[in-house]
Amino acid sequence: MARLPPELTRSARAIADAVRSRKVSARDVADHYLERAARHDGTVHAFLHLDPAAIRAEADAVDRRVAAGDASGALLGVPVAIKDNLCTRGVPTTCASKILADYRPPYDATVVARIRAAGGVVFGKTNLDEFAMGASTENSGYGTTRNPRDLARVPGGSSGGSAAAVAAGFAPLALGSDTGGSVRQPASLCGVVGLRPTYGLVSRYGLIAFASSLDQVGPLALNVDDTMLLMEVIGGHDPRDSTSRKVDLAPLAKAPAPTLAGLKVGVPAEYKVEGVEPEVRAAVERCEQLLVKAGARLVPLALPLTPYAIPTYYLVVTSEASSNLARFDGVRYGPRADARELSHMYGLTRAQGFGDEVKRRIMLGTFALSAGYFDAYYKKSLQVRQRILQEFTEAFTKCDFVLGPTAPTAAFPIGEKASDPVQMYLCDVFTAPAPLAGLPALSIPCGTTKGGLPIGAQLQGPACSDFRMLRVARELEKLLALDLVPCDPASAPAPTNGGASRGR
């Protein structure tokens, strides 16, 4: 039985160093995580696909590489779980949807290729809300994922599987995708770190599109340092993605560490509203106090457009999604319904293949774009979006970063919000604004509720301030002094029988 010592299981960077210096083999590392997943994922259901033989083969290849003298690769031997909306060549990629059942992409997403090139081991495909549409992973077409901290509760979404995998120690690193909070909110609910990069800093090539002008691939890890490690590997210009920024990542990643003394931390009044649970508010205020003690200055901010971010967000994403999902028709890939006539085949394939939330959003988007409604809905949302960007630009002349809660509540019980779409949408109140403005945002664990549920604090920064923000977060992380280790799902409160496990 392969067991890694605690100093390795709490740090992906330490694993890479240990593999590099041959203190541990990539195969031992893989076996450790495979064994944990085998033991606990039956309950957590973080993975949709996990192929131990393939993983072991990849790990063995890394070991051969090291033995041959090639110890390059920042992620040498480190397992990275991949959200199932990222293409992995020859390996099932379903977006947690029936419409892509058994789809095996003919190519790797750019971020996946970069992980492989850096010596990382692709470790399974994780569960998500179908096509990344949701905030709880309950919309998965293949059953929900449970929060490893409390198996009766949601892990958040849409990257619930990735956040749960890292939290439960099934992999030290994971990739998720964030469109309106889908990396940050599950990170917050599961007690791990999640970064949403500046739009364009990480390639979208091979990320199955939900909303193209908002989607970004983001890293998840137990701590800020590991998050930075993964970001350095996946980020940077990709000529295959026309929305990829032509920014050289190296100088950004090598910039000097900012001190907290004199740092101006924006605190918006709109983030202290009624819907935020008291314990969440208290945890974030503790962050404020720690920062002030270290010499930072709190700057009160007004971000009056905050409440409008959600309707803006939902109009933009549903419009783009209605178009992005038009290709799923059964003609060139995926299952197809039995029908004599083409329109019928399209209609049936899509009705059978898509879940309810996906159908709702496709219809909303189709409506928002259709003749007669375009100006009132879609065009209006893009104008409000511009104003939200202007509001942030204004704010960042007054402060270096904005601080607030990631989500208004801690993890909620499975089934609680599933039947009320609008309730579910409100989970995104703090995470929707940054994507609309193309800005980077990060969630780090900042405490727990009395019941032991994780609470996340969110930092938001100006465009391309990702690494500076990560460094500030690393300082805050030290001040918070939380024990950032994987949890053992077996010790979480047992799930109640009423827990919904179907996404529909």
Binding site: P106, G200, E341, S343, G347, R350, F367, L382, R387
Partner: protein
């Protein structure tokens, strides 16, 4: 949004809905659209609608052929692969 409108939208989006679904979606979509009305409160005269940050410019690539090594493999991803073609049920003219 009433049932007729839902049917029109569903048809545009090629989603064949059952009757019970149409009613359910109609009430859900009406609620969601009602929530979207909130945007009317935001002043937007003269604000240019934009999808991308202004510093992002469209790139071009050189006109050099880069053939995909396995086109047959792409056809074979289809459940309706028939020899070299993608087969679909007849389009009613």
């Amino acid at each position: 949004m009433d049932g007729a409108e839902v049917r029109r939208i569903a048809s545009l989006a090629r989603l064949e809905l059952a009757d019970a679904e149409v009613d359910r979606f109609a009430s859900q979509l009406t609620a969601i659209l009602g929530y979207f009305e909130k945007l009317r409160e935001v002043a937007t005269e003269g604000v240019p609608p934009a999808s991308h940050p202004p510093e992002l410019k469209g790139p071009v690539r050189p006109d050099v052929a880069a053939p995909w090594p396995d086109p047959a493999g792409l056809v074979n991803l289809s459940r309706g692969a028939e020899g070299e073609f993608f087969r679909v049920p007849r389009v009613l003219e």
